[in-house]
Amino acid sequence: MLQPVPSVLYFVLSGALFTIGAIGVLIRRNGIIVFMCIELMLNGVNLAFIAAGDMLNSIDGVIFVFFIMTVAAAEAAIGLAIFVLLFRLKGTINVDEINLLKG
């Protein structure tokens, strides 16, 4: 009889997705792609919450993911508005060239 997929594999997948997102944040210079990489990192964390909730037979993991999705939606609205504003102001969204707060 084949065993069900162990939770460890889900955690490893979650860590791998988080790491790929972090690599993307470090190597890409386009602001919107950096933003998408942060969304990918959030999804990696969500997967860890869901896998732990399933492993413990608890519904709390799903509730946490629900609130993370709410925050991600608000963050997307505000963050993309800031990108549009920056593009209007500076004509670029390359994160290396955005230094408005530099003294």
Binding site: V5, L26, N46, I59, A74, F87
Partner: protein
Amino acid sequence: MNGLSFINPLFQWAVFLVASLLSLFCALMMITRRNPIHAALWLIVAFFNLAVIYLTLHAQFIAVAQVIVYAGAIMMLIVFVIMLIHLESDIVYAGRLSGAKIIGAFITVILFLEIGAAIYSSGGAPVKAAAAPAGAAQDSVVRVGTALYGKYLFPFEIASILLLIGIVGAVVLSRRRND
């Protein structure tokens, strides 16, 4: 391990392997594409694969919310903003591979090894799972709703205020000033 074992293990393995490998592949394609639209489309595919993985973890509500909120709403916003913003100069920049990028990627691999060490050190300990309530397998969405409107009612209301702040903030920020 899974109290709700109404999914055939062979089927679960097959779905998990296909969806996880595809999501990793799509994530790698996302961070390497030069054109931001291509990156966004690969990320949408990765989100769909994650929704499939949530289904194998008995989280039907989150799987549907993933498709609607992430693959639908958030990625639609991102694609719209990519189309609003003129990006040709950034496409030229993307190809360079500098030393800082290589060092950054190397440090991130160390981060992954740390996560792996944490999983490895916690994976050996047996976890005592609570007994599943009767009929829980069929009523996952009912359980989510009961928890959300019962135990977590106050955070739920706070989340609605957060979304309202998000709407107002986006409108205020992107308004064109008449000066």
